[in-house]
């Protein structure tokens, strides 16, 4: 029964790393994990130890620890390698995690400033392209795809302008900023309206 404890310790560490932002995002979890990852991998990273992580993904702990229970040395070794693997996984995961949490931050700032006009209806959608500089300042907003409703489009632009500056983006490593946040696509699609 020693192993489960180790496993738990690792999970806690993972969680700590995973939350530069302590926001619970129930739905967000599965999606960001699946999608942003290939991206993080796609660009050449200066990490020599970047190993394929699919292995690490499905609960890395139980697998290696399952067989040799009597040989403690072997067990320790295995644990160490599992830990190393986990570390790599975490490193690789970090970018995606950062992107996810800072996206959540942007979401919050924009949604918190979005005053929908009373003519807004579910099903309307406007797409904005925004440009940011590393200070978090919005330097450009353009309507990439209009909803066809001027007041609705304007409400989305206003939301970005009112949010104005995403200061926390300054905390990001410039690699993560450049790869993900210099240009952003914001899709405004109200789902919480009555009509």
């Amino acid at each position: 029964m020693a192993q489960p404890k180790y496993v738990q310790a690792k999970l806690i560490q993972l969680e700590e790393k995973a939350k530069p932002k302590p926001k619970p995002k129930p739905k967000a979890k599965p999606k960001p994990k699946a999608k942003p990852k290939p991206k993080a991998k796609a660009k050449p990273k200066p990490k020599p130890k970047a190993k394929p992580k699919p292995k690490a993904k499905p609960k890395p702990a139980p697998e290696p620890t399952s067989k040799p229970e009597r040989d403690t040395q072997q067990l320790e070794q295995q644990f160490a390698s599992a830990l190393a693997e986990e570390e790599e996984f975490l490193e690789a995961e970090t970018d995606a995690q950062l992107v996810s949490s800072y996206s959540a931050y942007i979401y919050e700032r924009v949604a918190g400033n979005w005053n929908r006009p009373p003519s807004a209806r579910r099903g309307m959608e406007v797409e904005l392209l925004i440009q940011l500089v590393p200070t978090g300042q919005v330097v450009n907003v353009i309507v990439a795809k209009s909803s066809g409703h001027a007041a609705f489009d304007r409400s989305a632009e206003q939301a970005v302008h009112k949010a104005g500056r995403f200061d926390k983006l300054q905390e990001l490593p410039s690699r993560v900023f450049e790869n993900n946040f210099r240009k952003l696509r914001l899709v405004f699609r109200p789902e919480d309206l009555r009509l």
Binding site: P24, K25, P26, K27, A28, K31, P32, K35, P36, P38, K39, A42, V99, S100, S103, A104, I106, Y107, E108, V110, A111, G112, N113, W114, N115, R116, P117, P118, S119, A120, L129, V141, H149, A150, A151, F152, R154, S155, A156, E157, Q158, A159, H161, K162, G164, N180, F181, K183, L184, R185, L186, V187, F188, R189, P190, E191, D192, R194
Partner: protein, 428 residues
């Protein structure tokens, strides 16, 4: 107003296009807050000198009353720009303004011409510049026109500030009631007396061009329907039957009235051709059929009937004579009015023994109680469908009250004198 929940849904997609460099991170915003828009109306003057009416104040009050705007008080303003080029945006950002209205007035041979612009403060750009003109006695109309234009640009729905309201007041004079038919601007200003009577006046309704009213007056000793022109005050008596002559409603094409007559024994819905003077009976039922109101397409009439055992709302399709029940929730639904979308039904609805105004979406069937006042009566919807007026009681006095169709804005219009009842919002 909705608040952003603590738990929010975040949809994060890093879109990877196989052969494209367009790989911006995409964030989907699916929630918002819907607070009133902060707007500033810079004083609108004639090169600094004031006009008989304070245009900016009227626009301010109009927008505030809609509940969708929270104007910035003039005393907080750091500058009073009159033209787009005079605007120093930072002044307005500091105040939290999202929009700014600037304007100036020219006097051209006794006629006022107002140039006005709507500016977006955060993005520092102009939404529009428009011109409106009129004589000195129409300054309030010019102001309401500005309100309408600003409201439409920001909210995406037409404004209804240039409309009027007809209503009946009952004032005790030496222990006896005097009844007055009044018309006022939608903001309550420029109240005008149309008819003064010792006998009750009821059920005013507008012609579709908003130039005439029909109403029931008891001045002949029994209820009769009259038609009156607002500009000339000329009036004509249209009905003089025994029994009930009531609840006229003007058809959208202006050619007919729907009304209630009990000349054949019990109250039934009739139509009256204003050109030929011909009456046509439209319902045939031993129950009471009353309070007709046309659908916006003019093809049907909705009305109240107790044919199902309790008062409920029905729809009669004129061509087929088919009658269909529309309301099913609760044991009392009456005095139906349709918003101009033809989809939103408003009515008096009894809920836990209290009479409130409720709206029902005729497509989804959703019913919402909009008011929390008691003994609510006579709902009438603004032509833009954003707000309705109704009659209610404040203490033991009859007053008018307003509520937005999303129930977010509610206010009372205190009565200046006597009881106020039966409001009718003009169609334009």
């Amino acid at each position: 107003m909705k608040k952003l929940g603590a738990v929010f849904s975040l949809c994060l997609l890093a879109l990877i296009y196989p052969l494209s460099v367009m790989a911006e991170l995409t964030i989907e915003i699916t929630q918002g807050v819907d607070n009133p828009t902060r707007i500033a109306i810079s004083p609108i003057t004639q090169n600094g000198s004031t006009l008989p009416e304070d245009i900016g104040k009227i626009v301010d009050a109009d927008l505030e009353r809609s509940g969708l705007f929270r104007p910035i008080p003039r005393r907080d303003m750091l500058s009073f720009p009159a033209k787009p080029n005079d605007v120093y945006y930072r002044d307005w950002r500091i105040l939290g303004a999202e929009y700014l209205v600037v304007g100036n007035v020219d006097n051209r041979g006794g006629r006022y011409q107002i140039n006005f612009s709507l500016m977006e403060v955060h993005s520092a750009r102009k939404v529009f510049t428009k011109v409106v003109e009129g004589p000195a006695n129409q300054l309030r109309d010019l102001a309401h026109y500005i309100s309408d234009q600003v409201y439409q640009a920001v909210t995406g729905i037409p404004g209804a500030f240039s409309t009027r309201v007809a209503y009946v007041t009952a004032i005790p004079v030496n222990g006896k009631m005097t009844f007055q038919l009044m018309v006022a601007d939608a903001d309550g200003a420029r109240e005008r007396l149309l008819l003064n009577s010792k006998q009750p006046i009821m059920s005013p309704a507008w012609s579709p061009d908003a130039k005439e009213l029909v109403y029931v007056s008891f001045e002949t000793g029994r209820p009769a329907i009259f038609r009156q022109n607002l500009a000339t005050a000329a009036r004509t008596q249209l009905t003089n039957f025994r029994g009930l002559n009531g609840a006229p409603s003007w058809s959208p094409d202006g050619k007919q009235l729907a009304l209630v007559l009990s000349k054949d024994g019990n109250p039934e819905i009739y139509t009256y051709d204003l050109l030929t003077g011909q009456f046509t009976r439209r319902t045939t039922h031993f129950a009471i059929d009353t309070e007709p109101n046309w659908t916006p397409d003019g093809k049907s009439i909705i009305f109240t009937s107790d044919r199902g055992g309790s008062p409920q709302i029905y729809k009669l399709t004129i061509a087929t004579r088919r009658v269909e029940r529309l309301t099913f929730r609760g044991s009392y639904n009456a005095r139906p009015r349709l918003a101009s979308d033809g989809r939103t039904l408003v009515m008096v609805h009894r809920d836990n023994g209290n009479f409130h105004i409720a709206s029902q979406d005729l497509v989804t069937g959703d019913l919402r109680v909009l008011t929390q006042t008691y003994l609510d009566e006579s709902p009438t919807v603004a032509p833009n469908g954003a707000m309705l007026l109704y009659a209610t009681k404040q203490g033991n006095k009859g007053v008018l009250a307003a509520v937005s169709l999303d129930a977010g804005v509610k206010f009372l219009l205190p009565s200046r004198r006597g009881d106020v009842r039966e409001p009718a919002w003009s169609p334009k």
